[in-house]
């Protein structure tokens, strides 16, 4: 048996206001005045001088606002990369993502594709990337996805929703400033926080579990419970804790794997464009057969925060649409193997999934 040799984020700074250190952190990484830093920023911050005035632009640096109405697509990555290549003679000094999971994944994918030929869809999968990425920095502005520590960048391609999983994917630098999450709307705060919660449940109840991911998963789960079951939802301590929960939850799945909720939620995203956070919640709400305790606690959290999830989203789907969605979900074999075990194909059939999707 061979264990994963996990590549970690190279550097991390944590603290309220540490976003102010961005300029000092980037300065030594500038290759020359013609090699720009490209900042991908969630367009929710357009016009928000509190944040944007602190983004250090000099020389030919560029700020690109990114809409996160839809999740990142391989075609979008290819266009962003082409834009950069056509606009500058020099390869960028660095790619900086400032936003949620989508923006962080865009930054990672662009940094990889700047140094690797072809289209990003060709790299969806495991360990297909040949060359080191351009220096890339992740700055989360919402907590939960774990994108800040993962070795993947999840993209929707023409054929599937699947990550570019590689040793070159993790950020060279992460800036964890919980203050940046202070204006996240409540529903998004809940959905994205639940992404972390679901990571913990899937990791801790998976067959891939080991003492490494267990210790991270348990801590993240504990923090999620403090935040979503016991705590106040909006204070500074809660923002600090949720940022760490996301980090630890990300480390936990990085060294194990996710499970049923993620597999099925990928199907929903692929077919219906449902975003990952809410998609996970919609699916997880119906997984009591797989994660009885986890789902019971999830329902308590949902109630405490008056969250109501969409219902009947699969009611009017055609057989062909069900097939597409189910095939995407079933193609994520490591997720099912982690959740159910090596013989998962005996119990997880197209019918099983259709029955579950019909409940949603």
């Amino acid at each position: 048996m061979s264990y994963k040799n996990f590549p970690m984020v190279s550097r991390v700074v944590f603290g309220r206001g540490c976003f102010n250190q961005l300029e000092d952190i980037l300065a030594p990484k500038r290759i020359n005045s013609k090699a720009p830093f490209i900042f991908f920023v969630d367009d929710v911050f357009k016009g928000n001088a509190w944040l944007t005035s602190r983004i250090p632009l000099s020389y030919d640096d560029k700020l690109v606002y990114v809409s996160t109405k839809e999740e990142p697509k391989t075609s979008q990555i290819d266009e962003l990369v082409e834009d950069i290549i056509l606009s500058y003679k020099d390869r960028p000094s660095g790619i900086i993502g400032i936003g949620g999971g989508s923006v962080l994944d865009i930054a990672k994918a662009v940094a990889i594709m700047l140094n690797n030929d072809g289209e990003s869809k060709d790299y969806q999968g495991w360990d297909l990337v040949q060359n080191e990425a351009v220096y890339h920095v992740g700055i989360p502005t919402i907590s939960g996805t774990g994108a800040e520590v993962s070795r993947t960048t999840i993209l929707t391609g023409p054929e599937r929703k699947l990550g570019i999983n590689s040793d070159f994917t993790p950020f060279d630098q992460v800036i964890l400033d919980p203050e940046l999450t202070k204006d996240v709307p409540k529903d998004q705060w809940f959905y994205t926080g639940m992404d972390c919660y679901v990571h913990c449940i899937e990791s801790l109840n998976g067959t891939y579990l080991n003492a490494f991911s267990q210790s991270y998963g348990e801590k993240a789960l504990e923090l999620c419970k403090e935040i979503f079951l016991e705590g106040d939802t909006s204070d500074e301590e809660s923002q600090d804790k949720l940022m760490m929960a996301s980090w630890h939850g990300g480390m936990s799945i990085a060294y194990s794997q996710v499970g049923v909720a993620h597999a099925m939620s990928y199907g929903l995203s692929y077919l219906l464009g449902i975003k990952h956070g809410i998609g996970n919640c919609i699916v997880f709400d119906h997984l009591e057969d797989y994660y009885p305790e986890g789902v019971a606690v999830f329902k308590q959290m949902k109630k405490k925060h008056n969250i109501s999830l969409p219902q009947g989203i699969c009611a009017n789907l055609s057989d062909k649409e069900f097939d597409i969605m189910i095939n995407v979900a079933l193609s994520l074999e490591p997720l099912w193997e982690n959740a159910i075990g090596k013989n998962w194909k005996k119990t997880i059939t197209k019918e099983t999934l259709k029955a579950l999707y019909l409940k949603m």
Copy 2:
């Protein structure tokens, strides 16, 4: 205010038996056949083929057994580095430490000094290292010190016991194989495990605490309690957990600081050559005024495992000796500031420390 930008270990592999992956991990790092890998191995493994037969030696690679009767000295590092430079034309491909905190610190210090001029004592302190270290790998064979994740390497120099703290200190690769700890003698298991426990208490009760180090420290503390208060002491699960506790405890102090026990224990080591693990225990046993809860739980653990600590070790010291020991302890200003606060000098005097040392 500026927050630390912490350099992490680049890669980590975890799992029982993952030591077998050492050859595959090192192979791509070999610069050429004349640039050797140097393995520093705790001499407790001399003649232990179960471990040594799995150390992959080829070309001019060299295995150097290291005695850990005494803690690493700056003069020892300088000799080891000179030996390597005189024996090989090429700089080594890598330095691999296989052992406890002392051996890991030797590996880190040698890797640094191979690429930095002068004597290692000149680099004791914070951020004095100029050049990147040689590729270096840490493989702990006893758990607790946190040396596998820290950005320091603690050395006893002519003037003080102090680490080489730098961004180049952390390992490029860590191999966490809990099976390697299976034959640790019980007393050493306890003393070194308590190093981790004390890290948690000092970090969690320090003024430098933040949500980052808190989350790591809480998890490590929880694991320590499971292992030393509740659990069986020798089973595989306990070995796995203690290796993770050491990791998390190390991360916790890396992003905060240690405190009173470490400061005073450094004094004991410097003057009396008392090793770090047992030194911490001897000191911590008398720190109920500073860490009341932590010391109470420590005494329970000590009792549960029938550990008896040396008594009266300072009874016959001269005034001059007390001065030396107290000056070493007081010179560690960040530790005292973390433990007591900015105004620590008002309460921590030579007399305070002498009274404490006299109890030990």
